[in-house]
Symmetry: C2
Subunit: 365 residues, 2 copies
C-alpha cells in the first residue's frame, strides 16, 4: 500500500508537471467575457509584432505583457462563430490554446464562439441529437477509398422503418468535407430546427469537394474536371442509398453548397433534374450552363420544388450572383433570392445563416 501511495504521488506530480508550462502563468485563449468582448492571448516572448486577425474586426495589433504574453480584448462582438488567427511577425498562426479549428487545405484558422444567452440555432443545446458519421466508400471515379460525412437526424437508429429525404451539401474552395460539420454546424442547426418542428428530419451528405487534391495526396493521378460529378452520381449516391434509409425519389433529394460547392451543386442538380428537385446556392460562383434547362422554362420549373439563391450584398461574388439571378429571371426560371447585409460577405457566418433560412424549406412540398 505504501508503494501504491508513492506511485500515486509520483503520478500526480507528473500530471501537474506535464500540464503546466514551467515559468509561465497558465494562459487561456480565447476568453469570451460576459459583455461579449473577447480576450485573445498568445505567448511569443521573442516576437516583434503580433496582430489578431478576427473576421469580426479589422486586423489589430496586440500588446506585449509579462512573460511574453501578447493580448488584446476586442468587442463587444455580435454573437456568432468567427474564424481568427494571429499574425506573428507576418506569419499566420492558429491559436495554440484553442482546439476549435477551421478545416482547410490552404490556411489555418481557429474558431471563437460568442453565444447568445439563451442559445441559438447553431448551439449544442439540450434537444434530441442526430449524429455525424464519417464514412468511407469505394470510388470508381477517384480510383480509391473516398470519404464523406453524413448527418442522420435524431431517432434515426430508433425509427428503424422510417425513410428520410437526403440533402447533398458541398463546401467551398479549399474547404475540406469537414467544414459544413465543424464550421457550418449543420448538425446542431438541424437538431434545433427539428426540435422546434421547423425542419423535416433529413439525412445530410457532405462530400469532399476537391477530389483532385485528395487523389494527388493519395498517389492517384486525377483524370479530369468531372471527377466530382461522376463520384457523387455514380459512387457516393449509390453508397448512401445502400447504407442509409433514404427515400430514393427526386421529390426527396436536394443539393446545395457554398461558393465553389454551390456551383458544383447547381451543375449536378440542374443537370440531373430526374434525381433532384431542391437546389440551393449559397454565396456561389454561379454560371452553370446545362443544355436544355434554361431554354425550356416551363418544363424546368415543373421539375424544381425550390431553386434558392442567397448572397451577401458585400460578397465579392455579389456581381456574379446577381448576373445569374437576372439571367434566370430573363429565362423565366423561377427562383427565390435572398440578399444579406452585415453578415461579413463571403464567410461562414453567412453560410450558416443560409442554412437557417433554407433547411426549413426543404422537402416541404
Amino acid at each position: 500500500m505504501k508503494k501504491t501511495m508513492t506511485l500515486i504521488a509520483a503520478v500526480t506530480l507528473s500530471i501537474m508537471t506535464f500540464a503546466q508550462q514551467p515559468g509561465r502563468t497558465p494562459v487561456s485563449s480565447p476568453v469570451v467575457n460576459s459583455d461579449n468582448t473577447v480576450t485573445f492571448k498568445f505567448v511569443a516572448p521573442n516576437a516583434k509584432n503580433v496582430k489578431i486577425n478576427a473576421q469580426f474586426a479589422p486586423t489589430t495589433n496586440m500588446f506585449k505583457g509579462e512573460n511574453g504574453v501578447w493580448s488584446i480584448t476586442l468587442g463587444p462582438v455580435v454573437p456568432d462563430i468567427y474564424p481568427y488567427c494571429f499574425i506573428v511577425d507576418g506569419v499566420s498562426v492558429m491559436d495554440p490554446l484553442n482546439p476549435e479549428w477551421f478545416p482547410n487545405e490552404k490556411f489555418k484558422n481557429s474558431l471563437v464562439d460568442i453565444r447568445v444567452k439563451d442559445g441559438s440555432l447553431q448551439d449544442l443545446l439540450n434537444v434530441p441529437h442526430g449524429k455525424i458519421d464519417y464514412v468511407y466508400y469505394p470510388s470508381q471515379a477517384q480510383s480509391l477509398e473516398a470519404r464523406a460525412i453524413v448527418y442522420t437526424p435524431p431517432f434515426y437508429d430508433k425509427n428503424k422503418k422510417e425513410q428520410y429525404p437526403v440533402f447533398y451539401l458541398i463546401s467551398g474552395t479549399t474547404d475540406t468535407e469537414e467544414v459544413y460539420f465543424k464550421v457550418g454546424r449543420v448538425n446542431y442547426i438541424l437538431d434545433n430546427l427539428i426540435a422546434q418542428g421547423k425542419a423535416k428530419p433529413m439525412i445530410v451528405v457532405m462530400p469532399y469537394g476537391n477530389p483532385s487534391l485528395y487523389m494527388q495526396n493519395n498517389g492517384v493521378q486525377p483524370k479530369g474536371m468531372d471527377v466530382f460529378t461522376s463520384d457523387v452520381l455514380n459512387d457516393l449516391m449509390p453508397f448512401i442509398e445502400k447504407n442509409y434509409r433514404t427515400i430514393n425519389d427526386r421529390e426527396y433529394r436536394g443539393i446545395g453548397g457554398f461558393s465553389r460547392g454551390g456551383n458544383q451543386g447547381l451543375a449536378i442538380g440542374l443537370g440531373n433534374l430526374d434525381r433532384f428537385s431542391y437546389l440551393c446556392s449559397y454565396s456561389s460562383f454561379t454560371g452553370t450552363n446545362i443544355p436544355g434547362v434554361f431554354d425550356n422554362a416551363d418544363q424546368t420549373n415543373s421539375k424544381i420544388n425550390l431553386f434558392w439563391l442567397g448572397v451577401g450584398l458585400d460578397d465579392f461574388l455579389y456581381g456574379n450572383a446577381k448576373d445569374f439571378m437576372d439571367f434566370l429571371d430573363e429565362k423565366g426560371i423561377k427562383n427565390t433570392k435572398v440578399f444579406t447585409e452585415g453578415k461579413h460577405g463571403h464567410t461562414w457566418m453567412n453560410a450558416r445563416y443560409f442554412l437557417f433560412e433554407t433547411l426549413p424549406l426543404l422537402f416541404q412540398k
Copy 2:
C-alpha cells in the same frame, strides 16, 4: 446562351484567381518522395529563421529559396504517421498547406503519412469499412451536452441482430476526444484487422478525457476530479448501451488509454471489475490505488481476462510504468508487459503500435 457562356468564363476566371495566390508559384507541402524522403515547404518571405520540427528527426533548419519559400528534404524516413510543425522565428506553426492535423488543447501539429508500398494496418485500404460517429449525450456529471466518438465495425448497420463487445478508449493529456480517430486511426486499424480475421468486430467508444476544460469552455464550473469517472459510468455508458447494440456483460467490455487516459482507464476498469474484464495501459501514468484490488490477487486475477501494459524503453514515463509493473508482479496480479524500442518514446507512433498489438487480444476469451 451567349450570356451563359460569359458567365462561365467569369466563373472560371474567379475560381482561378481565388485558388492561386498572386505572385507565388503554387507550393505543396508535405511531399513524400518515392524514396521515402519528405520535402517540407513553408512560405515566409520575411522570416529570419524557419525550422522543421518533425517527430522522426531532430529539429532542423530549413533553407530559404525563391519567393520566400523555405524548404528542406529529410529522410529517408521509416514509414509511419508523424506529427510535425514549423518553427518560424521561435513560434510553432502548423503546415498551412496540409489539412491533416493533430487535435490538441495546447499545441498545433500537422501530420505526415509515409506509407509502405503495399499498405499497412493504419492505412485506408480497400476492405469493408466501419464508420466513425460523433455523438452527443446529456451528461449529468458535466451538467451539459457532452460529446464522444464511436467506431462501429463493418456491416454493423447490416447485421441488425448482432450485438458487439465494447472497448472504451481514452486519449492522453491535452488530447481531445478526436485523437484516437484522427491520429490513432483506430478505425482503419480495426477495419484491416477485422478483414484479416485477426480482431473481433467491436464497438470502440472514445470519450473526451478532460471534461473540466470542456465544461469551462462551455460556461459550466467543474465540480471535482472525478467528473470523468462519473461521466463514463453514469452518463456515457448508459447512452452507448441504449443507442448501440452492445453486449452488456463484463466479459465483453474493455477499457484502455494512452498516457493520462491509460491511468483513467485503469482507475475505472480496476475500480469496476464487475463491469470490465479487459484492461489496456498504453504509455500510461500508472499508480491507481483501488481498495481491495491489489491485496486480493486470486480474486482480482479471476476477474481479469487481459491486463496489458505497454511502454517504450525510451518513454519519459518508463520508470513509472516499470515501477507499477513490478508492483503488480509483487502483488501477484497477472499482467502482460510489452516494451518497445525505437518507436519514439511517448508518442502516437507508439500508441498506434500498441493498438496493433492489443486489439487482436480483446474479447477472445
